[in-house]
Each structure stands twice: as C-alpha cells, then as structure tokens.
C-alpha cells in the first residue's frame, strides 16, 4: 500500500513539476515604445559627443535621427542613434537625473541565417565589453565578457558543457523539485543518470567546439 502511494506521488510530483506552455489570452500592452528625442536631449547628447568622442565616431552619427526607447515595465529610457554608414551599429546614451549623459556605449548587432541575433557592446573608445547571442528559442548566452571571471564561466567548451548539464538537472523552475528529481533518477538508475549526463554533455560541448 505504502509503495503504491509512493509511486503515485512520484508520478504526480515528476509530471506536476514540468513546465507547461500556458496560453496567454490577455492582450498585453507593448513593453517598449520608440519616440523621437526632444530638442533638449539632442543638444545634451550633441554637446557630450563633441567633447567626449573621437571625430571618427562623431561624424558617422546624425543626431537629428536620435530616438528615445522607453521601457514601460522597468521604467528605463535610453537615447540611441544608428550609424549612418552602417545600420548594424548604434550609439546609445542614458541620462542621469540632472539631464547629463551618465553612460554611453556603442553596439553592433548581427542576425545569423538561423535567426540568432548576436549583440556586441563596446565602450565609446572601442573596447569590447560584452557580447551575447539571443536565440530564436528565447534563450540568451554570453559569448564574451570583459570580466574574466564571468568570461571563464560563460565562454567556450566549459560553458557549453555547463549549460548542457544544467538542462539535465534543472528540468523544472523549482530548485527543490530539481534536487528531488535528480535524487530519484539517480536512485532508480543506480547512480547512472548524473555520470552519463556529464559524459553526454562533454561530447555535446566538444561537438560544438569542433564546428
């Protein structure tokens, strides 16, 4: 009797914890809005550019085209303008409370044939700060980070293998459920699940590296 209840609980627990595709019927307001920057904002950015950025960069951005992207959900806004010579490049600014430029960066965006979008973020003096890929399945991977600790963890063979192991051991959004599922699967397979997933992931990462 106890064992029957145990197996019933196990089945309910395992399948109950899986992610389900929830259909969202309500119509959501768009999170972002793009509007033209005001004359004041254009002047602030223009002054900042002429005093801070090299003439090569200065000449390739037409500030008349400066746009403001507003994130309604997070309450952020950013000013951005495309490079008139290369529409894959843009320069972006955020203003502080006093209305001065607080932060600026250059970005390059590329779309691959399979739909993945790679973004490279540079400082205004051309140093690559971070690079990441937004995949069509909605996932995002950091390819490069200026921070060597993050970079070591997020780029290369180790990162791919690490990512893969995570997918086998984070089957649900709940850490406790993931731990329990891992424990049950390892017990039921007499300890084979975890070592074998490591072997498969090592092969997976090696295959990606060899591409």
């Amino acid at each position: 009797m106890f064992k029957s209840v145990f197996f019933l609980f196990l089945a309910l627990f395992t399948f109950g914890c899986l992610d389900e595709d929830v259909e969202i019927n309500e119509i959501k307001q768009p999170q972002y809005k793009v509007v033209k920057a005001t004359l004041i904002e254009k002047t602030i950015v223009s002054d900042w550019i002429s005093s801070s950025i090299s003439s090569r960069i200065n000449g390739s951005f037409n500030l008349e085209e400066l746009q403001k992207i507003v994130d309604f959900e997070k309450g952020y806004q950013i000013l951005t303008v495309l490079d008139s010579n290369n529409s894959n490049q843009a320069i972006s600014f955020s203003l502080d409370e006093k209305g001065q430029v607080a932060f600026s960066f250059l970005s390059k965006t590329f779309k691959s044939e399979n739909g993945d979008i790679t973004n490279e973020i540079y400082s205004t003096n051309g140093v690559l700060r971070i690079s990441y890929v937004d995949r069509i399945d909605g996932s995002r991977s950091i390819i490069y980070s200026e921070n060597s600790i993050i970079n070591g963890r997020t780029a290369g063979w180790w990162s791919d293998a690490d990512d893969c192991v995570g997918r086998f051991h984070n089957l649900t959004p709940s850490n406790i459920a993931n731990y329990a599922i891992g424990f049950i699967l390892n017990s039921a397979t007499l300890g084979l699940y975890s070592p074998l997933s490591l072997v498969v992931c090592a092969g997976y990462a090696t295959a990606i590296l060899a591409k």
Binding site: K3, T14, L18, R167, L185, A188, T189, L192, L196, G203
Partner: protein, 82 residues
C-alpha cells in the same frame, strides 16, 4: 567479465540515446521526461531483475513484492561482480 560489460552496455545505451535527443532538441521536455521515467522505472528494473535472477539472488515474487527496491540490497553484485 563479458557478462558484466554487456550488462553495463545494456543499461547505458538507452540513456545514451535519450539524453542527446533532448539536448539536441529533437524531443521536448515532456517526451524526455516520459522516456527517462520509462527507462528508470520499467526498462532498468527489468534488466536488473534478469541479472539478479541469473545469479540466483532473487525470485520474481521477491522482486515484484519489493517494487524493485531489492536491487539496492545487491548493488555490488549488480554493478561490479562478473
């Protein structure tokens, strides 16, 4: 020794097929969970039972009554003995 190798191969191969199917996104999460559960709770107990029965360590009744938990008593015989 040969029998032990065949046992490990028989138990590893299905998982070596299921895991890449999921990681290469050939199957989704739900089919993966079903496949792993079938492996862990049906296929693997059957393979383990056959090996234990061949060694004369358990009977069918004992195995069924224990819901397969009797395997844990004979871990060494299952995984390491020729």
């Amino acid at each position: 020794m040969k029998k032990l190798a065949i046992y490990h191969l028989t138990t590893s191969l299905p998982l070596l097929v299921i895991l890449p199917l999921y990681i290469y996104k050939i199957i989704g999460l739900a089919p993966f969970a079903i496949a792993v559960c079938l492996y862990a709770f049906v296929y693997r107990p059957i393979v383990d039972y056959k090996r234990l029965q061949e060694k004369g360590l358990v009977t069918k009744d004992e195995f069924i009554k224990s819901f397969g938990f009797i395997r844990f008593r004979f871990l060494h015989e299952l995984l390491f003995e020729k």
